[in-house]
Structure formats: C-alpha cells, structure tokens
Symmetry: D2
C-alpha cells in the first residue's frame, strides 16, 4: 500500500490564503510519511485504552477538519462518509456521540486504504474551500484551519508514541524504522557533569503573548513572582538514571510520592518502560538495552532518559537531592544560553499541575473542549521531544499527561532551591 | 495479498501415506480459503480475550504440527522461526511458556504474509517428512498428524466464530462475505409446528467405539441407562425465539438459572448476541435483523436461532415448558429418521456438563492436554454447525463451551419428559 | 449480650403439631448457641462477597419463616419490621427486591440485640400460629415449616463456615472457641494405609425415595447404571495431603484442571486455605499448623484435610493415581461397613456437576427457587461435616459449591477404576 | 460499653509540661465522646476502601503516640500489644509493614473494649513519661506530642466523615445522633443574594509564619503575586445547588471537567452524595431531603451544600459563571470582615492542586511521611467544617483530597475574575 499523498493543488486559491494551505499540505503529508513504515496491522492495533491506532490518528485528524471547518462553514460540502462522524470523533461532547475510546482497535474497517481516500477527499475539499469561500467564511475558517494544523501536529507525536507502545508489546520487539534510517536516533555524547544555572528572585512574565499561533491554555500572558532557584543545564541522561536504579531507586519507598510507590509495587516497575535489563529473554544481552523507534539498542549513557512517568522523574529528583522545576521556572529560564536541550530531545516533567492561568477562557464553540476540560489530574511537561514535528514547539507550550503515564517521550531536567554555601555549578551527589 | 496455497507435492511420498497427506493438504488449503475474504487488519484483531485473531489461528495450527510432530520426530527438522514456539503455543504447559492469550491481538508482526510463509514451510516439511520418515517414526507420526488435521478443522470453525465476533464489534457491521456469495447462509423455510419423537427407557451405548478418528473425550464407549424421554424433531428457530422475547423472556427472572439471570442483568441482554432490534442505529429498520457472515439480514423466522448462550437456551426451554436433552439422550436419538438438522446447522446445547466418561484416560504426552484438562465448568454441545468444516462432525462428538459463551454458532433442540396423557406430537405451548 | 432463647411454649399447640414445633424450637435454639461465642463485631462482619455475617444468618432464617409461612398463611400476622423483608431476603426473586449480597456487612443496624428480638418475635408467632391455624392452613404450613427448619440447619453450617473465614482474615487468628471447649475438634488418630472397596457393575437406585424430609433436588429416585469401580475406605487426611504439597503438587501444571491451574497461579495457592506454613509470621512455628474453629493448632496428619477447593481435590486425586467418585458411586457405596467417615467429618467433593435428576421438578411457589436455579456451574459434595448440625445429613443429600470454593469444611475421598491385575486393597503410590 | 476516659492525673508532671498534657487529655477525651453514640458494630465497619472504622481511628491515634514518642524516646516503655504495631500503622513505610488499608473492617478483634484499654494504657504512659522524662527526651518529645495531638484532631473529623458514610450505606439510614441532641446541625438562615468582595492585584504573603503549631505543608511562608479577583462573601448553599440540579447540571457535559463528566456517567451521579431525591424509597417524601449526622432531614435551602466532590464544585462554578478561588486567593482574603463562614461550616474546595510551597522540606524522621508524600493528585480545601474539632483550624491550613472524593464535609465558595463594567456585588446569574 502506498501512503504518499498527492501534491497540493493551489491553482484556484487566492494568494493570501496560499501560505496557510501550503503549510497545511506539508503537515498532512508528514502524517502519511510517519505511517509509511507501518503495515496495515501495525496501523490498526490499539495496545491499551490510552493509546490509539495509527489509522485512527490519520482519520481523526481529517475528521477534525470536516467537523470543525468544512461542514459548519461550507453549506455544500459533501461528507465522505457520514458514519465517520461517529467513528472518528475523539472527545467532543458538543459534536455528538462517538465510538468508545477503548474500542478504536476493533475498527478493522474502514481499511487503511479507505482512510487514505478519506484524507484525500478532505485535502481536496480544503483546497476547493480555500478557493471559493467568501471573505466572511474564510475569516471564520482561518483560525480553525490553523488549529486543525496544530492539532494534526500533536497527533503526529501521539502516532509515534502510540505505535511505539504497540511495538513494545510484541515479544519480537520489532523496530518502527531500522537504526541506520532513523533520523530520530539520539547521537551518542560524552557523559558530563551536571552544572546548575542560578536564577534570582524576580517577577517574570509567562504565557504566550506575542504574534503567531498558540493554544488557548498558553494564555493569558501574566506575571508570576518566582523565588530564586537553580536549574540544571542539561537533561538527566540514561547514565544518571542507571545509577539511580543501581542504588535501589525502585526499592526505596522513601524516595517516592505515595501514589508513585503504589504504582511501583502494583505494576512491578524496576526501570523505565522500554528498558531491557541484562538477560531479558526478548533480546538476550549482558548489558542494559533500550527499546525505541529504531528497535532494541544498547543503552547510551549520554542519551536523555525517556519513557518516564512523573512519579519516576520525581523519585529520581529526590534521590539526586534536587527537585523538578515548576513550569514557570522552566519557562522563565528558557532562552538562557547555558541551558541545552530545552527542546527537541524529550518532554520535561515539571512540578506543576495543569491548571488554568489567571483569566483563562477556553475558545468559543466546540473547540472550547480542546484543552480546558482536562485541567485536573494532569502534570505539565515543557519543551518538546525528538518525536515532535518541526516547528511545533514554543517556550510557552504546555503539554500535559497524568502522572502515571510513561509511554511518552518524556524525561526530566532537575532544579533545586538556592544553595547558599556551595558553588552553583557542581556534579550531583558528590 | 494472495492466500492461495501451493498444491501438495506428493511425488516423494509412499503410496500408503498419500491419503493422509492429501487430506491434510485439503484441510490446510481450506484454512486459507476461509481467511481469503479478510484484510490483514481483519486477520490481526482480537475482539475479546476469549477470541483469537485469524492470523493466530493460521499460525497456531501450523505450530501444532511443528511442536507435536516435526520437531519431536524429525531430528533434522529446521524450524521456521524459533520464536514462534513462544508466540503460537495456545495452552500446552508441557510445551513451554507462551504468549498470553489476552495479547494475541497485539502481534501485528509477524505480518499475515509471514504467517503464510510459515504455513508453506510447515506444509513442505510435512511432505518431506512423509517421504523420508522411517516406519517407526511414521507409526508415531500418523495419529498425531491425524490429530493435527482434526485440530485444524476445529480452528477453522473457531476462525469464523471469532472473526464474526470481531466484525460484530464494528459499528459498520461489515460482512465477512456478501450474501449472494455466501454458501453459509441458511435457506428460508416455512415455519412449522414442533413435533416430538418419543424414546422409551433403554440401556444405550454411547461414545465412540468404531473405526476412524475420534478425540479422546469421546471414549470409552460405554453403556448408559436412559429413562424414557421425548426429543424435538426440529431445532428452535428464530420465529420461536422471537415469541419468547416478545413474551418478556429476558425480563422474567423465574425462567432463568441464577447465574444466567445475573448475566442478563449485568450485561443487559435483551436478545441473542447478533440480533438487531427494530430501530438499531447501526442498520436502521422497522423489523428485527440478524448479523451474520453475510452481514445484516432480515430475521428469518424459519432459520435456527444461534449465537445463544446456554443460559438463554435453558431459559427458552423453561419458557416452552420443556428442557434441554442430556448429551446421552441426544446421542441415543441420533440417526432416527424423524430428527432433522442434527448436524450442519447449529451446535445444540445439552443439559450435560462436560465430564470424563467412565474409564476416560487422556492421550499420552503433550497432547494429553488437548481435552481432559477442560472437564470442569463447561457444557456439552452436540451436532455441528454451518461453520463446521465438511467431514468433521460425528454423532459422538463432544463440543464444549462455558455456559455464558454466546458468540458460537450455537442453538438448541428441545427435549422433555414423557407426556403420559397427551399426544406425543404437538406444537409447543398450545 | 445474652443470646439465650426463651424455652418454647407449646401449651396452646395441638398435640399432633407439637413434635414439629419442638424440633423447630431446638433448631432455633441451636442457632443462638452457635452465635454465643461471638462478639457483636464478629457477628456483623462480612469477610468476602460470598460469605454472610452471623447476624445476617440469624435474621435471614427468621425472615424465611415470616416470608414463606407467617405472612402468606396468617392474615393477621403483625410483621416485626416491614423493612426487614428488604434487608434479609437472600435471593428469592419472587419475594421482591433485596439488599445487595455484597453489602450485608454494612448493616451495623439493626444491632445484634434487635435481631434477637426479631427471632423471639418470629418464634412466638410460630407457636401462636401452630395453636390457632385451621387444618387447611396447617396442612399448607407443615411442609414449609419443615423446609424452614432444614433451611436454618443449612445456615447453621454456613454460619460456622463464614465466621471461620472472617476470623481467618484477621492477622491475630482468633479462635471461634477455645480448643479445650471445642467438641468440634477432630481427635488424633494413627495414620493408616489406604484400602479400597471394590464395587461391581450394577444398576443402582439413587435419590431420596422413602419417608421423611428431603430437598427437591434429591429426587426423583431413579436408576443408574454404574460401571465397576473402587472407592477408598477412608478420607484423605492431612498427612496424605502434606506429601502432595512436598512433592510439588502446587507447582506441577500437569496435575491440574485448566481452570484450577489458573486459580493456583492467579491467587498464589500453595496449601489449603487455612494451613500455615512453617515460619508464618502470624503464629510462628517450625511446623505446619492449621487454623480452625479452635484457633491455630499443630497439623494433625490423621485428621481429614479440609477447606479444599474442588480443583485441589481433583489435583490431589490425579497425583495419587486415582480420581474422585461420582456422586452416584458415592451414594451407591454408602452403607458399606468398610467405609468410614462417610458423614460428620468433611463434605466430600465428587466428580459430578450439580444437575437435575431425570424428571426433576422444583417445588411450587417461591420456594421453587430453593435449589433448582443453581443447577449450573456447581459441583456436588456428599456426606456431611463436623459443622453440620446433628440429624441434618442423609445419604441422598446433595450439597453443592462452585469448584473454586475453599472456605467450606470440604475434603475428599478417592475412587478409581477397577484394577484388574492388582489387589484391591493397597496403599496409594506404592 | 462505656467509652468515658478516666481524668488525666498530672500530679507527677512538672508544671511547665502540664499545659500540653492537659490539652492532650482533652483531645483524647473528645475522641471517645465522638465514638460514644456508636455501637460496637458501627465502630467496626469499613464501608469502602478509603474509609476507616471508628475503632481503627481510636487505635491508630494511640499507635501514633506509641510508635513516634513512647517507644523511641522511653527505653523502658512496655508496649500494650506488640501486634498492634502491625495492625494500626496507617501508611508510614519507615515504621514497618502494616495491615492492608482495605481490610481494616475485618478486624473484629481486638474488640472495641480492648481498644479502649489500649487507649488508657497509652494515656497513662504519656502522663508517666511527662513526669519522668529528662529534659533532653522531653525536648524531643514535645513537638511530636503536639503533632500527635493535631493528628488525633484530624482523625476526629475523619471518624465522623467515615462513620457517616457507613451509616449512609445502610438502607435504614440511621442517625449518628438524634437531631435534637446534635450540636452539629446547621442553623436555618434566610436565603440571601450572593455578594462579591473585590480584591486588587497585590503581592501577598501566604503560609504559616508566626508562633504556634502548623503542619510542615503550611510553610515556608512566602510571597505570591495575585492578580485582581473577586470572592463570594458567603458559601454556596443547598438552595443555590438545587437550582443547578434543576437546570440540568448533572446532564450537561459542557459544564464539567472531562474526568468529572466520566465520573458522573460511570457512577450515575445526580445530586450530592447524601441527598435523597423526592420519592426515594429509603425515606419517602415529596421533597428533597439530606442525610447527615442527625439522620434524614428536609433540605434546608440556606444551609451550605456539602458532601460535594471537586468535580461537582467546579461544574457548579462553571454553571454560575464563576470559578473556584485558588488557595492563595482564599488565604489572602481571609480575615476580611465581609467574608462569612470561612471556617466551621464546610471545607471549601479551591482551584489549587496540592503542591509543595517553594522551599518546602518535610519533617525529619518517620513523621516526614505525614504530608509531603501526598503532594500529587490531590486538591486543596481551605477553611474547616462543622466536624472539625474546636481550635484545629487556621487560615494557612491546607486540607486535601482527591477530586472525586465526596464523603467529606466539603462545599464551596465562588470566586471570579474582575468584572470591569458591572457592579461588584450582585446575585449570580441575574
């Protein structure tokens, strides 16, 4: 099966609308590229209730344009298949009933090829709509198309996150993409000491405030009073984390939050989700290995640790005599030249629960369900990961997951309270 | 993807071994034919813990020959992939650890095409083995090959049973095969009164005792003393069952066994598993419809009711003023000319728990786990269904499922105690 | 709190009714005697969904007389508290809605003292009713009173069974009654070889057929054809069972029925429910101990093993090269002088599922729900136990529990197929 | 059973230690007074895993003094029963293994009377220890005794909270204490409009900073920058909440956080936990009623609504066009004369997740597990309730529960962002 999309045809689109359409076409094409290494079976499977099949991601991101833009704003739009409104709505209560989340993997039909046809139908309709929409309709559509584009980018990362989980459940541990072909593999670096960047007490501005797209949950921009703190210049890496494991990190209740310790015991956690201990029967080796998009690879001590839950991140920080930064500390320090890997490697768990900013208001209409209704029980992650599509990250970006989630490309950066009598830059636990 | 198997090459096989090989090749080919209408996604999905994917059935039936015949009896046999021993063992404790039953649907790899290659590898090996095995090895192999053939036939019915369940979970209710092409569809007949065949008290012989293959659980043949009884000449059909529903059958606790009533309430049963009530949003209609291998079809009053649990069969019988026959009553009556549809339509729930016959001994070796270890908590069904492969049924055949199972091609035939003062043949509930 | 009941006052009862009333009073008093060693908390607790509190047993057995006899047959009967009809109905659908079974332990009110008042109210009403009922009402009431008496006897054993389970959940392992005071303790005997009683093939009559009370499920009396078999003269004792454990019985899948092995693994069974392995922190000792009504006692090798599930009984029999008797084999052998401990020690698991006898009809009315509706998913036990009230056992008595139940006073006696070439009497596994 | 404690004997206690001892004795006596209306059964029952039995609360608060003060600091202390260390540890990993939380209701022994003896033993030991401890030991003990006192006060509220839940599970809905005797009943007031207190943007100090006891989680005192906001002068009352229900509040997904809506649907919420809709069979009435410590009472529109989850509080606020205050807004406004019922009526859900304050450090030693390890997945409540013991509340007090918890004495007070163009004081939704 070929996943390639046809090139966007913008001949009938007014010039001032072409930039958006072109970006849209590029994003849409990227989704197909991500699915390309996967078989129809790979694209159909749902490996746990919280994950979704690749095919579902491909269809749902198309449904979003149909349900939010094309159908409401284009009276003559011909839907591809009315039943897809039920199948591919995710959680929008205002947009009608939907197929249960836990049963997405049962949708062997529509087949992958039909979903591709669906995507092409929506792509073509978006182009035609851009060519013929009157200015009023286009004014309404523009922000929603931009939102749909960003929405699809989010699902691109989820697609990789979820399919990696599915592959990890297979005792054969197949690779999403061979190592040599994987631009996603992290380059090996020399281990290095941890250095701390001190930050003085200050009133800082946080949240999105400038031009360009941002999700509603990134605003309003507002001021915070931050006490002095220190933030680590680099991420915690696999070598660091291995020392935590070898020091009994997963056996010492005192290091853990209570809910985290309950998970450790109930689920038998002994290492990050995709680490293989020496001797694992699925890929025999005398050393630690890590399963990832390129399959099973030797553990790289210099690579950022990932697929960590918040509980593990917090326990590690406790063991290291440090803590996680709040999301405001993280954002305030962003841009400091000393800080490396703030984006593009791993999402970084913060010590902040996901809550509304002062004065937060959700978007109007159905898309108001996009972010606000999840503002309880979730923890904020900042930065972006190797699986985040190019151009999707922002310093004000607020990713969020429940504290037990550990199938994300999620790691951590340490912070700590000011250390009055010691040098600010030193290795941990010396 | 083409599922066609290559023709068997029996040129090197001694003539006295060719009959078995030819039958084997025909059975192996039939498995592929059953999978032919299904997409790779259809073949991969596992819709509930008790069902298995088509692809898994195709692989497991090949594993059986590898694990039970080729590897033990042919020292030079080259296994296709040693990891498949883990992936495709079903429940044989003596043959090593195995992939958890509930996670069979997560095996997107090996792909369907690899499983076909696996099947061809095993087919070719069986032919080569038949050609070169010394008489002693062949003497040991023969019964196991026959068992493997019968085993694969059982899985052919399970394949249809399970894939129909998977398709039934899809709100699109896709057809396994279009109606016109479906030799499996039941032909419409005129409704007809229920007539009873009286049987006198007798000592009867039951169990397999003659030539030909039988499973270990069908023997030893032995004598039973049966009191007089009456058995219905035809199966209970959809028209009969609809009257039960319309008479409040699913709302009257007094008709049900206690465990059955608990299921009715916990799961909200209101009709057989694949019936669609008038107005069902998945396939709007003013009448009852039934989902089956040919998709959604109007309810046919003359067709045997199926996809019934034992609990429903027993409640129906209670409502009809009758009961289910014991498996011995069923077998003793088998062959009476008045009895129609004893095989080839639906498996018939009996009032017999699945227990060992007097003197029962399982087969020696790993295949001893085939039947005996399930002899608790299961109910015997007799006959065979429209999904049973040709030549697989026997009067002594003991199929079994737990009493709540309702995704089988399972229906019922009534029995009752002798009716001293009335005519033996009459309609029910007149 | 005093649990003593007042003596029955039969002065107004016609002489021909006095025997039943006197037996009734004795049974009712025995229930109170069983509860006497228990505190109000002990009587209130429900240690698992399948067990009921002592207080609930005391109230439910009174409710039975109210709901089945007094209210239907005595128009002027003043109910003690109309809300008790909801609280203390067990499972009779025909008698209205009821408090959920799993929440019986939440009924801290009515207090134990109120339940005693309820019992006295019902006792007095039964006496008054016996004195004044006209012959027709009495004719209807007699069998129901007898049924209520037998029902209460059944609950007497359940009361002990359930409270022992509750006490076993307490890490202090308190005794129901001190050892010296416990007439229930089994006397130590010398271990002895196992001898087998051979029985020839025969047509036998089974089921209750004579005078006196029997439950509906014990009839009709009917004939069975039994092949020849051998049955063990004594019960399996703790010494026997310890050898099974020491021989790896709980670690060898091949000995177990499939469902049983799943339980062993899921629940970590390693010994009977109330056995304490050497070193158990709840009652440190270097030897095996057994928790029972007299608290923790050293394991007595000659005492019958009990608190066994059917799965364990069947696995033991398999290990011993034998099997369990069918309920018909057990009943046919009953009365043979060689057979010891057929009653009064432990209920004996049979290899028979609990099914209706040929021609079985439940009682008319609400009491028709007493037995028949449980005739699926249960295994028959025969005999009676040390906890069965005097006079309650019969050779035709059919006790039943699901195969996983292991908090009963349940053990086993072995049977086997005829041994042509060996002596009939020998030790097992010589 | 008498629950009265003997008066404290302080004759041997140095004068400067007497104040603490006297306060301790008063608190200890109050626990017994709270248990006094309850039967032994009431005190033993555990109605859900998150609740604990009264008897367990009484014992655990005594265990705390034994395990944290008497045993570590008094070498000659004779423990009451060493097994109680296992039975009555709650969650202190550093203090050894413990009885599973979910099985506290199975502890019918020790009986209530034994727990009272345990309490007397600990009380007497504390007095003796205060009389004889050398200054160093006393210096260590003082803060821990104060902590134990505060700990017991917390459990006093939990005791009422939990026993009320247990009584609510009984279909008889018995009263903890008759209405006339209940000092806990809320006085009826006239309904009144909702007025808002505006607060300007400011940098405020929050957290405990002065003299007197506070829990570790209340510090360090630190500065926060708060944007301008408005806070309601009174609590939301039952009349307000009834209008929310009547306006379809429990049926409108758009008002709810996603997790909250999932709970509403999964558990069928239609009103606060202890409200009885008109026609409820447990206490027939044509009007709404509320179950509480005084049993079932008519709904009082002017009484604060309580037994609300955070989800319900947040949905109500959304419906009212407002929001919940953050815990910092709540604390900053505390003391404003216009604000009524900040304490003593209901705990007030805030919009703040329970997180560490900047620079937070847990206490040293085992008591470090007291608060910090719960700082994820919980929401802060502020104020205090009618069930909070006198003297236990503080403006900086941080109570916390998971967002779904609804068996507490928990209600809400509204807040909102500044309303530029309208008057600050107005009724909601005019």
């Amino acid at each position: 099966m070929t996943l390639s999309s046809r090139p966007a045809d913008l001949s009938g689109v007014p010039p001032e609308r072409q930039d958006l359409l072109q970006r849209l076409a590029a994003v849409r094409a990227h989704s197909l590229a991500l699915a390309a290494p996967l078989s129809p079976e790979d694209q159909c499977v749902q490996s746990m209730p919280d994950a979704s099949p690749t095919k579902w991601h491909l269809a749902h991101t198309s449904w979003f344009f149909e349900a939010v833009v094309l159908q409401p704003l284009w009276p003559g739009y011909a839907v591809f298949d009315p039943r897809f409104f039920y199948l591919f709505n995710s959680y929008y209560e205002a947009l009608g009933p939907r197929h249960p989340r836990t049963q997405r993997g049962l949708l062997t039909r529509p087949a992958a090829a039909e979903v591709l046809a669906y995507r092409r139908h929506v792509d073509a309709a978006l182009e035609r709509f851009a060519g013929m929409a009157d200015p009023q309709a286009w004014a309404a559509a523009g922000p929603l198309l931009e939102l749909g584009l960003q929405h699809e980018q989010q699902h691109q990362e989820l697609l990789l996150t979820d399919v990696l989980h599915a592959l990890s459940c297979n005792p054969l541990l197949p690779a999403y993409a061979p190592a040599e072909a994987a631009p996603l593999r992290l380059v090996r670096e020399q281990p290095e000491p941890l250095r701390w960047l001190p930050r003085p007490e200050a009133i800082v501005e946080v949240g999105h405030g400038g031009q360009g797209f941002a999700f509603d949950n990134e605003g309003p921009r507002h001021r915070r009073l931050l006490p002095a703190y220190e933030i680590a210049e680099r991420l915690v890496n696999c070598g660091d984390y291995l020392r935590f494991i070898e020091d009994g990190g997963y056996r010492r209740a005192g290091l853990w939050l209570s809910d985290g310790w309950a998970q450790v015991q109930a689920l038998g956690w002994q290492a990050p989700a995709y680490w293989l201990a020496p001797g694992d029967p699925r890929a025999p080796s005398d050393d630690w290995q890590v399963f990832g998009l390129a399959g099973v690879q030797p553990l790289d001590p210099a690579a950022p640790v990932m697929q960590l839950s918040f509980y593990e991140a917090a326990a590690y920080a406790e063991w290291a005599g440090a803590r996680l930064p709040t999301e405001f500390e993280w954002e305030a320090a962003h841009g400091a030249p000393a800080l490396r890997d703030m984006a593009g490697k791993v999402w970084q768990w913060t010590r902040s629960s996901y809550e509304p900013y002062p004065g937060f208001r959700p978007l109007a209409g159905a898309v108001g369900e996009y972010n606000g209704k999840f503002m309880v029980g979730q923890i904020v992650l900042r930065g972006s990961s190797l699986a985040t599509p190019p151009g999707h990250a922002r310093p004000s970006y607020r990713n969020f997951f429940p504290p037990h989630a550990r199938w994300q490309f999620s790691g951590l950066r340490l912070a700590r309270d000011p250390q009055p009598s010691t040098q600010a830059s030193q290795e941990i636990r010396e």
